[in-house]
């Protein structure tokens, strides 16, 4: 490979170098305990998806260019250049990874493969091999932020339509979807789809919350793409909006990575302390139910209900109990999946993989563990607070004929609320 590109690619590692990365590079014993932790390796048996192998590709470059032993005796470590062969395998194993960090959970040294792959993504982008679809989605989101005026009318009119639907559900002609409300306590940053706004609006309004809706979506394809600057700009859109409106708290929707990005990543990207409290919508709903601010009736949801912990919300976000408490508040017929919480199997739909057609086969094959879990639970209703998980599980549901109803948790809550209006039929 030519020396300019080599300098560029090793320069990426140099720029991204930190103590954790260095230790992960230095200490992995290649014991392969991570093998059975990974849903993609288990689902496909394909060696390139073995977590330690994904990391090993970066290690091979690291050994050659960042260690003396690897420089002098590269054969000892199979150290090599980031050539086309390496980059091609790296592309597959990196963009396929859902970032669930189940391998880290089981690793005796807690090696964070996803963190190593964040460097891999930066290398791929520098080599002009970043995933095109994720890049486009990120750019579109940044474009919306830079040209907010252009989309203002469309957005406002969309919110007005949703407001009508909310009023039909609550039966209250005064229910609102407040837009650009200065002095609101909460800025709710939803997803682009109406489905993530409608039930949340019903709940906020019924709880008497002082809230306003964001003009932007919480999803962050810059994060999945692996470009820190793009990711920062996408999140910055609603951080700036929250500052402008003077809210106290930012609430993110039923989405896994949106919470992790806001709570754990944005401070590092922006190099400034997060000026707002970040909450997941289910934390708020759990509080509303426990404080009696909204009422839910048990018995309105039929069938045995189970719950899937999205990796970014559970293992990586720490929200294990709030969603369960909500589900248990709307039904007495709850059963947990096995394993669950920190040991929950990734459904296979995270990391932006649902948007990348080229990974469809591995994605569906990797869902086999989730399918087994769902079958074993005997549940007919699945509550799942992550859009990517739901897209994946709905597809698995169809292919494997599980006969499951897959619900957002807030949809379950609205279905269980005694409201004067007409309940929406579950999509």
């Amino acid at each position: 490979m030519d020396s300019t590109q080599l300098t560029t690619l090793t320069g990426v590692i140099d720029k991204k170098m930190n103590r954790q990365l260095k230790q992960y590079m230095d200490i992995c014993a290649r014991c392969a305990i991570c093998k059975d932790a990974c849903h993609q390796y288990v689902g496909t048996g394909d060696f390139k998806y073995l977590p330690a192998r994904r990391a090993e590709l970066i290690r091979q470059i690291y050994k050659k260019y960042f260690t003396k032993t690897g420089e002098f005796v590269p054969a000892l470590y199979e150290a090599r250049d980031p050539d086309e062969n390496l980059l091609d395998e790296l592309y597959d194993s990196t963009y396929a990874c859902t970032g669930c960090r189940r391998c880290m959970y089981y690793c005796p040294f807690s090696i964070d493969t996803a963190w190593i792959l964040s460097v891999a993504k930066a290398i791929l982008i520098a080599a002009g091999k970043g995933n095109e679809m994720l890049g486009q989605l990120a750019d579109a989101a940044i474009f919306k932020g830079d040209n907010a005026e252009m989309f203002n009318d469309v957005m406002v009119s969309g919110f007005e339509d949703i407001q009508e639907e909310v009023r039909a559900i609550t039966g209250n002609p005064n229910s609102r979807v407040p837009v650009n409300k200065e002095g609101a306590d909460i800025l709710y940053v939803a997803l682009a789809g109406a489905h993530s706004i409608r039930p949340a609006a019903v709940i906020f309004e019924e709880a008497g919350e002082n809230w306003t809706i964001s003009m932007f979506e919480a999803a962050n394809y810059g994060f999945f793409y692996g470009d820190v600057e793009k990711a920062r700009l996408i999140t910055k859109r609603y951080i700036d909006e929250a500052k402008r409106l003077g809210v106290k708290e930012i609430v993110v929707p039923e989405c896994g990575h949106a919470y992790r990005v806001a709570e754990f990543f944005y401070e590092a990207w922006s190099k400034e302390p997060m000026p707002f409290k970040i909450s997941h919508i289910l934390e708020k709903v759990d509080q509303y139910i426990k404080a009696g601010r909204i009422t839910v009736d048990k018995g309105l949801i039929e069938g045995k209900v189970t719950y899937h912990d999205p990796c970014q919300l559970g293992r990586n976000g720490g929200k294990f109990e709030e969603p369960r408490d909500i589900v248990k508040a709307v039904t007495d017929n709850f059963v947990d999946l096995t394993p669950n919480r920190a040991e929950q199997w990734c459904c296979g739909g995270g990391g932006g993989i649902v948007a990348m057609e080229e990974f469809k086969d591995v994605r569906l094959a990797s869902g086999i563990k989730k399918v087994e879990q769902l079958k074993a639970s005997g549940a007919s209703v699945l509550a799942c607070p992550c859009e990517n998980c739901r897209l994946q599980i709905e597809e698995l549901n169809e292919i494997h004929e599980l006969g499951l109803q897959v619900w957002q948790v807030i949809d379950l809550v609205v279905a269980a609320m005694p409201l004067k209006g007409t309940k929406p039929t579950h999509a």
Binding site: M133, D139, A140, K144, A192, E217, E387, L391
Partner: protein, 80 residues
């Protein structure tokens, strides 16, 4: 306008939640020739911002983004 435009590909994106309508348009833009037009029908209102934003940032052109009843109809022209 839509009456005069020759449609090269029809996409039914009804029921898809954002950003999937944008993803589908992006995945299919390569299936029409340069200058060709995709007609896409979505039901998620988020597409009204997503698809034009995608077109602008990728250098393609949205000839029409209109609400027709409960549906959103887009005409997207492949520019390059």
């Amino acid at each position: 306008m839509s009456d005069e435009t020759k449609i090269d590909l029809e996409l039914d994106l009804k029921g898809l939640l954002c950003p999937l309508p944008m993803v589908k348009v992006s995945q299919n833009i390569g299936n029409v020739p340069v200058g060709g037009v995709i007609r896409a029908v979505a039901t998620d209102p988020g597409a009204m911002a997503d698809i034009p934003a995608w077109a602008k940032s990728t250098g393609n052109e949205v000839l029409q983004a209109a609400k027709e009843g409960s549906e959103f109809v887009f005409l997207v022209k492949r520019v390059k």
